[in-house]
């Protein structure tokens, strides 16, 4: 009876929440109060696919759902991005009958790195994708190895691991296991021999702490690595990006499927690969997946195009407190041969909690902006001083940099007759402040 009420109330609250536009964790929270073990009392579908990692989980999940839907599979997934246990409860109960049977073919869960161990106590994924582990939100996450340990507790023997072979820390989850499904990229035209980053989280082996060497770097510590001492090295992959051409916006998977890219970033190609891997496992033909992913524009609002007067631009939502995310956005802007102006806004470091910490700015490779494609750089928001200091430690010519603390004034500055394309790089916490001015 408790089970019935918990499901009913969750459904009603979710329905009400949808009408008034409220978040999706409250219904699940209340259902858990009524019936704490509710998640272990529902009948789940054959496939329970979970996705976690520092970056790309929301996008990867959206892509997987898109492919599955297009191929006749019904999917329950947390599109609102509420990825802690309450949000997952809302998702599961919202998709189930009042008797407690989930009515979909596939349950697809984006899971928070720190909370996966609690959620999966009740819902054990059949398949578990781990995308990457980066320095991300130190305020909550400590550091990547701390997150690694938290994630270790969320992995159960019956779960099929699907791991990014190019990330040495993620790959450690699959060490000495022979049934892992690996995805990754061959040596790509965008690769570098030497690391191009402010710091090197791949310098030492995550297994034995001896020095590691790379034959190629895709970006940051993502690449082809091997330990100089214990034999730990990148695993061969079952699903592979075999080539990429960012200039022309194309990637090839497994040597035969060409995908045209709506967003020309390395991040995007990894997300697509992870989605392709899952789709293949579920039994969807590679040809179909490639066609579904071609020119697919994300609906999650992380990339937004806009116009200011006669000028056009793109907002690249990046994550404050996550240098790899910024590096990716900067790399994308730098590759724009039309010539561009790039604006950074750091106004509130987080939308979920307070912090004044800007240490992460020092891990971002702003030096990349010393590039002929980048014409003007605009720094704005409460923490403009910290941005300005950071740029003083680069060799970017001072006359390229405009410091305009007030976001509205910075917006007015962009409203000019300059021809350059505009990139605005900022976080969820600050993007609304700019978008409201459009």
């Amino acid at each position: 009876m408790k089970k019935f009420f918990a499901i009913l109330i969750c459904k009603l609250l979710r329905f009400a929440g949808n009408i008034i536009g409220r978040g999706s964790s409250l219904p699940g929270q209340i259902a858990l109060k009524i019936c704490p073990d509710i998640l272990s009392r529902v009948k789940l579908p054959e496939y329970i696919i979970a996705v976690t990692g520092s970056n790309g989980k929301t996008s990867t999940v959206e892509m997987i759902a898109h492919i599955l839907n297009r191929n006749g599979k019904s999917v329950a997934w947390n599109k609102e991005g509420s990825n802690q246990i309450e949000g997952v409860t809302t998702l599961v109960l919202g998709s189930s009958t009042l008797g407690g049977k989930v009515k979909k073919d596939i349950l697809l869960i984006e899971s928070d790195e720190r909370f996966a161990k609690y959620t999966f106590k009740y819902i054990k994924p059949t398949h578990y994708v781990i995308t990457n582990l980066y320095r991300d939100q130190l305020t909550r996450n400590g550091h990547p190895e701390w997150v690694y340990d938290a994630l270790s507790d969320s992995i159960y023997p019956e779960t099929q691991l699907i791991l990014n072979a190019d990330d040495p820390l993620v790959s450690l989850f699959g060490k000495d296991k022979d049934d892992v499904i690996w995805f990754g990229a061959d040596t790509l035209s965008t690769d570098t021999k030497e690391l191009e980053s402010v710091y090197n989280d791949g310098a030492y082996c995550p297994n034995c702490k001896s020095p590691m060497v790379y034959t190629t770097h895709h970006y940051n510590h993502i690449g082809h690595y091997s330990c100089t001492s214990c034999g730990y090295k990148r695993h061969d992959t079952a699903y592979t990006i075999t080539s990429v051409d960012l200039d022309n916006g194309e990637m090839t998977v497994d040597g035969k499927y060409n995908i045209s890219l709506a967003l020309r970033s390395l991040y995007n190609i990894y997300n697509i690969l992870a989605a392709y891997t899952v789709a293949s496992i579920v039994g969807i033909d590679g040809e179909k997946t490639a066609s579904d992913m071609s020119d697919y524009v994300m609906k999650n609002g992380r990339v937004i195009t806009f116009e200011i007067g006669s000028r056009q631009g793109t907002m690249l939502t990046s994550k404050h407190e996550n240098s790899v995310s910024y590096d990716q956005s900067i790399r994308l802007a730098c590759a724009d041969k039309r010539g561009c102006d790039v604006m950074f806004i750091v106004d509130a470091v987080s939308r979920k909690y307070f912090t004044s910490d800007v240490s992460w700015l020092w891990d971002i490779d702003f030096e990349m902006l010393r590039n002929e494609n980048v014409h003007e750089i605009i720094l704005s928001g409460t923490y403009y001083n910290d941005l300005a200091v950071r740029f003083e430690y680069t060799d970017i010519p001072k006359d390229k940099i405009r410091i305009i603390p007030d976001i509205e004034k910075a917006y007015d500055h962009l409203k000019s007759d300059r021809q350059e394309y505009i990139y605005v790089i900022t976080c969820f916490s600050d993007k609304g402040k700019f978008l409201a001015l459009l």
Binding site: L138, T139, T355, S356, D357, S359
Partner: protein, 238 residues
């Protein structure tokens, strides 16, 4: 002017390296002939050659590996402390100079034993938070961020009084350690960038000159410090 950044490639979480960059830049602006050496497991640096020594913070696993390797510097470091060499260790690096670090599994790792304090780690809750400290013996406020999972007991000469943030132990209102010109604090990241007055304080100790942060060189650092302090004061309710 010689600067040594020890274990630069493994004890470097969240922009710690910028402490060395900031010190180097200030020295250059003052017209000093500066050389910075970066050293790690493979080399043995002669600590006595250097005017300023820095170590940043690492993950718990990295700290254990470094602490084991660092035993070879034990006597050199003792000598540096005795002779008043200016040294800054941030994050969990200064824990290595204590008697021991007990990890979350209960294994005891031997420290360098230059101080009598000892450290105990746990793996349940990451303790993080912004910090406003005041340095003992000054009226200056220090801003920063702490990111740790350890408790350090037995520090008899702390560096800071706490106005906001985490102390050496949960119950103490003091943080870090100071002995002469040795400065240890669990603050992470580029603390010398965030606190330009402290950068100048350290620079004055190293050079023996009176260096003030009123320079055009530190304009944005000073303004950034004011913004951060004012944002944090709002949290404290000042």
């Amino acid at each position: 002017m010689k600067i040594l950044h020890l274990y630069y490639d493994i004890m470097n979480l969240y922009g710690d390296y910028a402490n060395v960059s900031a010190f180097e830049r200030l020295m250059k602006a003052l017209g000093k002939d500066v050389r910075t050496d970066r050293s790690s497991f493979r080399d043995k640096a002669d600590l006595s050659e250097y005017d300023f020594l820095y170590i940043g913070s690492g993950t718990e696993r990295n700290q254990k590996v470094v602490m084991k390797d660092m035993q070879r510097y034990k006597e050199d470091l003792r000598d540096c402390i005795d002779k008043g060499k200016v040294m800054l260790m941030t994050g969990n690096s200064f824990e290595m100079l204590g008697s021991s670090v007990t990890d979350s599994k209960g294994n005891v790792h031997e420290g360098l034993g230059l101080f009598s304090f000892s450290t105990t780690e746990q793996n349940k809750t990451r303790q993080t938070g912004d910090a406003v400290f005041s340095m003992k013996g000054t009226d200056k406020k220090f801003v920063g961020f702490i990111n740790k999972c350890s408790s350090i007991s037995g520090v008899d000469k702390p560096l800071f009084d706490i106005e906001m943030g985490l102390g050496n132990t949960d119950n103490e209102k003091t943080e870090g350690i100071r002995l002469g010109n040795f400065f240890g604090t669990h603050l992470t990241g580029p603390i010398l960038v965030k606190n330009p007055w402290f950068l100048c304080y350290i620079a004055s100790l190293v050079t023996g000159e009176n260096i003030n942060p009123s320079d055009e060189l530190l304009k944005y650092e000073l303004a950034g410090y004011d913004v951060t302090l004012s944002e944090l004061n709002k949290r404290i309710g000042l």
